[in-house]
């Protein structure tokens, strides 16, 4: 619990960084929400593969899912700003068993990633209620869909931490992730049976946004957790071997 408290304090005591990230996230979600509402035709259509819902609500929740990008960036920051500013020395002086630090940071990355969904969701709900409140119909399916966004954000946040801890560099971690998303997953798409289980496709499975080719929610969740565990294990190995000079 001490480490959790310390790691959480590290996040909220650098308000400019967190606020900047939050404002960027809210701006993207606001644009997504406004564009979804303004282009909504009011028609009904088939919903998601597993969670049938109205296109408007589905697209509004998809706008909130933009916060996944920021959950990833926050995860990377949680892992790498300690290396960037040299505070990792102090962290390891207090907690020399480095695997504990890695585990705690991954946990905090998950919590922080999920927490970033809250303001995005609040903004979307308030905007939608004011603008098209009469057309909103939130039921159990929609709540389930929102829960999936929280879960996906937690996984993405944890992945961001794990990748950040492996590279120990902010830009490096972000470049690795984007290169993976843009080039590697695209290049591997021809092997569909493998492709479905790649990290971003597994997250699609968690969100239920991957179309007919996506893995189920359960498989997506399990696969994502395995990726977090594998990258976390790699982060432990690399962090233990890394000299803090």
């Amino acid at each position: 619990m001490r480490l959790v408290a310390s790691e959480l304090r590290k996040i909220w005591t650098v308000p400019r960084t967190v606020l900047g990230l939050l404002l960027a996230e809210l701006a993207i979600v606001a644009i997504g929400t406004a564009s979804t509402i303004s282009s909504d035709t009011g028609s009904t259509a088939p919903g998601l593969i597993e969670v049938p819902t109205s296109p408007l609500v589905r697209d509004l929740i998809a706008a909130v899912a933009a916060s996944l990008l920021f959950a990833f960036i926050l995860g990377v920051l949680i892992a790498t700003w300690e290396y960037r500013h040299g505070t990792i020395s102090q962290t390891f002086l207090v907690t020399p068993v480095r695997e504990r630090v890695v585990a705690m940071k991954i946990l905090i990355g998950g919590l922080a990633g999920a927490a970033l969904v809250v303001p995005a969701l609040a903004l979307m709900l308030v905007t939608a209620e004011i603008w098209v409140g009469d057309r909103l119909d939130f039921g159990g399916h929609e709540v389930g869909l929102i829960a999936r966004v929280f879960l996906a954000a937690a996984i993405i946040g944890a992945l961001g931490v794990a990748i950040g801890l492996c590279t120990a560099r902010q830009l490096g971690a972000i470049i690795v992730a984007f290169a993976w998303a843009v080039f590697v997953e695209t290049a591997l798409s021809r092997w569909e049976s493998l492709w479905r289980y790649l990290p971003l496709r597994a997250i699609d499975g968690v969100l239920g946004t991957g179309g007919e080719d996506a893995v189920s929610f359960g498989r997506g969740l399990l696969t994502s957790v395995v990726y977090v565990a594998l990258l976390g294990a790699l982060a432990v190995v690399l962090t233990r071997r890394r000299d803090i000079t």
């Binding site: 590290k10 505070t87 102090q90 207090v94 020399p96 000299d243």
Partner: protein, 296 residues
């Protein structure tokens, strides 16, 4: 208390520390000296578990740093003054450390007072001077009230008042029975507080001795000025004392005491204008020892 045994650390092809061994006595202030690049910081970081040795080991209180049950309560460390998030306030920096170590916020405020940072505790560290950052580093080191302090260049960036404050603080901490290992290149500062000295050069052990022993070994001289320098020289050499240099009315002796010289001059009816024992400094001893190593 702190023990380094056959420690070797390489960074690629560079050997930073080469089969280094020494022990730091409990309850003493030990200065860890060496020229730039001698391997002091690397050694301290191995002691603190931040750098993995290629061979050998370093222990504190009989254990490797990783094995310590509650590190912040056993060992306090000051490393670089730049190891802070610039956007975090000084107090919040200490609170993050305290939270991980299970230390109360009251102790954080107490430590801020101890390093005279109470008034600046709410400011972002990015706006701190180097001296203030050093004080904040010291505060973090002292949070857990540890028995052992490992300080890497703690005087960096301190102004003369700050240096005096640090000296007095370290003396107080040592008087409380703490073991302090301090690396520094400000030798004049170190010689005023250190009980013993460990000198390394190019990653290798050079010398470990008490500061008193080091001064005695490095020796000193006696300066004597007389308008009758030639007669005085004859008298001194006649008494078996060696004059190492003579220039005008000034003689420098390599041995003997001021009392011997004064008595000889009086017995021979010679006038003296100056008679003083020249005390060697730690810097001279250090330069002599490391120069000797360099020529090996």
């Amino acid at each position: 208390m702190i023990e380094v045994e056959s420690l070797t650390k390489r960074f690629r092809k560079t050997v930073a520390v080469d089969n280094l061994s020494f022990k730091v006595r409990a309850g003493a202030i030990s200065a860890f000296l060496g020229p730039n690049g001698a391997g002091k910081t690397t050694t301290l970081r191995v002691v603190l578990g931040l750098v993995r040795p290629d061979a050998g080991r370093a222990t504190v209180l009989g254990k490797t740093y990783r094995e310590l049950a509650s590190p912040p309560h056993e060992v306090g460390a000051v490393l670089e003054a730049s190891s802070f998030h610039p956007g975090r306030t000084g107090r919040n920096h200490l609170l993050t450390v305290a939270a991980a170590a299970g230390i109360s916020s009251a102790r954080v405020d107490e430590t801020l007072g101890l390093v005279q940072l109470t008034n600046d505790a709410g400011r972002r560290v990015g706006g701190y001077s180097l001296g203030m950052r050093q004080r904040l580093s010291l505060a973090a080191a002292l949070l857990g009230d540890p028995k052992v302090l490992v300080l890497d260049e703690p005087a960096n960036g301190l102004d003369p008042q700050g240096m005096r404050w640090l000296r007095e603080l370290l003396r107080t901490l040592a008087a409380e029975g703490r073991t302090i290992l301090i690396s520094s290149h400000v030798l004049a500062e170190v010689e005023q507080i250190a009980d013993e000295v460990v000198i390394i050069h190019r990653g290798r052990f050079v010398e470990q001795a008490s500061t008193a022993e080091l001064f005695a070994r490095a020796g000193g001289g006696i300066r004597v000025r007389s308008p009758q320098a030639a007669q005085l020289r004859s008298a001194l050499e006649g008494a078996g004392l060696s004059v190492s240099s003579a220039e005008g009315d000034l003689l420098v002796l390599g041995d003997g005491t001021t009392a011997q010289v004064g008595e000889l001059a009086a017995a021979n009816g010679l006038v003296l204008h100056e008679l003083a024992a020249e005390k060697s400094t730690l810097e001279e001893a250090f330069l002599e020892l490391t120069a000797h190593e360099t020529t090996r």
